[in-house]
Symmetry: C2
Subunit: 332 residues, 2 copies
């Protein structure tokens, strides 16, 4: 009988992640119990937030351990169903983890329309897209004409945030870590401006890009980029805190941003953290909106694809090093 | 003719404030023009936020200069009125500055009821009380049963915040800088608990005092105390950022608090700065509520009084050193 292939956490990283922090192994094929489905993974998505999940108790995702299967979300084909609600042959999204086969209770998988593009399901219609949608619209609350700034703007969440802000009539400025990413944001995705935080003249360029200051800052990074944005906030500005990618891939998180809380007081700024799961009862509306925007061309999802389960660790390393764009997907 | 006495800023402090940063001088008696009133200062209030006003552009209060009159709010008697709306002999609150006599356009003074206690007008019914009221109720939004924590809890704003939170059915914990202040908060003002941040066991005592974590944290301090509170916030908690007293009396503000933005994300915490002036159209309602609470004994304003204009600099030094309680008032 076929064996299952899995990627395990070989060791908890103490500094920058390396692909050697993972190892492949063969495992017995899992078997579906009554009420469960056996799934063959078609594609996985990897997000920077998963790096936080390797820092033990530091994250909302729970404590990880060396020797355990690496967790993650995927799109899968149901190869055997023992649940009435999910036919064999269905396409589903599921918390597959990094493995070729997995079993799940029927209530833990989400049926997808036949023919759904896995990258779309994992990206713009998955957690990344939903995070962008609710974080921007419900926490940031942009108004037409507002200046919206997003960090990690070429990333899985950021590139969607900027485009939704454009759809809502805002002036949109992206912050990314490379000039080619900045060009892509402006030339391909319609951002009004984009600045690389690695540019030696970042401060002055960022100031020039935000002449009316910042009404909404969508923060994926924390750290020095957050600090720079704090000093550019407009009165009554909102900061949606989504993630802390600047602090994930290190064992020594830096100090907090200067200006907290002084600048929040002076400019009456609201800074609010959120997790997308809190909006779960409204996912369907968000998916309808975003499907419509994708269909009419106003929202262009970007994907960086890797091929083969054994490439997943390297894909994760590339993602954290800032060498991917949009949603990072591993097809299997 | 009588001369005016004034306290000038002699030099902008570069570290901890000293009374030698001020100087007394005599000045010509001011004269009221048409539409103005000539006021004799009865009492001044001093707030920690005024220290920020001596740091140049760092504050919302505008840039100060050596050689200028020290600004501030006072209660005054109108000794000559050339404005129909303000009778001679009225008691008013006004931005008198630190001087014995001042002139103001009628629209810049606020008529007080005859017989109003100046300390009450400057404290619980003045900017301090209004700041506590709107910051707690509108930014913090406490619910009955919530745990509310306030820093600089024995200070002009903090001691009112805690009592309003008690009136709203919350469990209230104060953070102050001395054991006798903590005892006063619990024994006299009805706080449920109070902890000194100077206690070597502050961390464990603070944890014990907040067994259900913190729903609302009213921050007057910033710095390490804010950082400690961030690590104790409950899911969905709110932080009302009112001031940064830990950073005022120094020329080298520290780094921002660790945990920003990571802890805001993990616990979905909202952190929001405010200035009381944004609520000006609702001051009267707040004053009615607080007058009622003072009358029925549920809100007990505390005042530390100094006597004589020449004592104002030392009163300011004492305030910043944490040696005053409640509203600091200088009677003249």
């Amino acid at each position: 009988m076929a064996e299952n292939r899995q990627v395990l956490i070989a060791s908890l990283p103490t500094g920058a992640l390396a692909s050697s922090d993972f190892e492949m192994r063969s495992a017995p094929m899992p078997e579906a119990a009554d009420g469960e489905v056996l799934c063959r993974t078609v594609a996985l998505t990897i997000g920077a937030g998963q790096r936080a999940g390797l820092q033990g108790s530091a994250s909302y995702a729970g404590a990880p351990e060396a020797g355990r299967l690496m967790g993650g979300s995927g799109v899968a084909e149901v190869v055997e169903s023992r649940a009435d609600s999910i036919p064999t042959g269905s396409l589903v999204s599921a918390p597959t983890g990094w493995q070729a086969f997995s079993t799940h209770a029927a209530r833990h998988v989400h049926l997808l329309d036949a023919g759904t593009d896995p990258a779309t399901a994992l990206g713009v219609l998955g957690t990344n897209g939903l995070t962008a949608y609710f974080g921007l619209l419900e926490v940031g609350r942009p108004q037409p004409g507002n200046t919206v700034v997003v960090s990690a703007a070429a990333g899985s969440v950021g590139h969607i945030v900027g485009q939704i802000a454009k759809i809502h009539g805002c002036r949109v400025v992206g912050i990314a870590g490379a000039d080619d990413k900045c060009r892509m944001l402006v030339d391909e995705l319609g951002f009004d401006d984009a600045v690389s935080y690695k540019d030696p003249e970042f401060r002055s360029k960022f100031k020039d890009a935000t002449p009316d200051r910042i009404d909404v800052y969508f923060d994926n990074t924390g750290g020095p980029v957050l600090e720079s944005a704090l000093f550019r906030m407009a009165q009554g500005g909102r900061i949606a805190c989504c993630g802390v990618v600047s602090q994930y891939d290190t064992s020594t998180p830096g100090p907090g941003p200067r200006g907290v809380p002084g600048l929040l007081v002076n400019n009456r700024v609201r800074m609010e953290g959120f997790l997308v799961f809190d909006f779960a009862d409204r996912y369907e509306q968000a998916r309808r909106d975003m499907s419509q925007w994708v269909a009419d061309g106003s929202l262009k999802p970007k994907v960086t694809e890797f091929h083969g389960l054994e490439e997943a660790p390297q894909a994760f390393v590339e993602l954290l090093a800032g060498r991917t764009v949009g949603t990072t997907v591993v097809t299997i």
